[in-house]
Assembly symmetry: C2
Homo-oligomer: 163 residues x 2
Amino acid sequence: MAERPKDAEEKELEALEAAQVDHLGVPLWRASRAYVGLMMAGYRRLGYHDLTESHTGLLPHLDIGGTRITTLAARAGLTKQAIGQMVSDLETRGYVTRAPDPNDARAKIVRYTKKGRRFLRDGQVVKQELHARCRALVGEKNFAAFADQLGTLADQLEKAALD
Amino acid sequence: MAERPKDAEEKELEALEAAQVDHLGVPLWRASRAYVGLMMAGYRRLGYHDLTESHTGLLPHLDIGGTRITTLAARAGLTKQAIGQMVSDLETRGYVTRAPDPNDARAKIVRYTKKGRRFLRDGQVVKQELHARCRALVGEKNFAAFADQLGTLADQLEKAALD
DNA sequence: CTATATTAGTCAATGAGGTTTACTACTCTA
DNA sequence: TAGAGTAGTAAACCTCATTGACTAATATAG
């Protein structure tokens, strides 16, 4: 290995080393992770230690008037089984209740409890703080354009992912 | 419930409904998810069906000259146990090898196999395509600024997450 | 030149967050 | 009114990553 056995391979390695481009996926992922982390930290500071990321991701999809499992699944982009599990968790922890739908005996309606509504209210504060922080980081002037471009990117990439 | 029992609660609900702000976390998460999805789809189109997201996330951290498990863990922001598992997976699938470090008998050095280098090369193509796609979506003119702002946001949010 | 602390890596158990497959119960429609 | 479609549940499994406990090798303080 020390007496120059393969020049071709060496060249290949150098070429690979040079080609390491950093694509948009990296900052996108890092920003997303950090954002969620800060949100969870905010919730914990307010005393919500029993909620995981998936819980806090689900709750905003729940309408004030109550929502069906299937609807939640569609909104969150998950299977209804997954939502069913989360709802059970949240029920155990006292944030939501599951009641039969008077209009359809198959369906059940998930609703906030009082504790759930309190979380929702507190959550708004956390989100607004974080949003303001981002606004400051990006810069007041650029923020609107940035948010708009990010939104477009998310929309278009999701559309592209459907092939 | 139909004869106006609680005006206070009704008001509360209305207020909550109105307060649903959409924060930056949502598009950030959606864009990140879609991006990764498209990358994986690209890899699959090239015939890489045996690699998961975590594998493709790890490989770029591996230097051409080989890298220690601990170093990989630090770069990826994961525990060395987690990296150890992934490396074992990738070893089984034939993308990397694990060799003893001649300078430190405790350590092992993870290196690409020929198959691994081929993946790295193909991966560059996939990433470049996707990057170009994003560039077009955001707009040629705005792209540099956008990428820069996104990078800053990621950096700062990560720093903020350290408290 | 030991005694001790640190570092590299592994093993095993566990947990979070989902998925697929298979099923029951109800509703809608032809 | 029979059959297709829809709402939800149950169970088994998968991926990704964690914590805790451990071995072996190295570095360092006395």
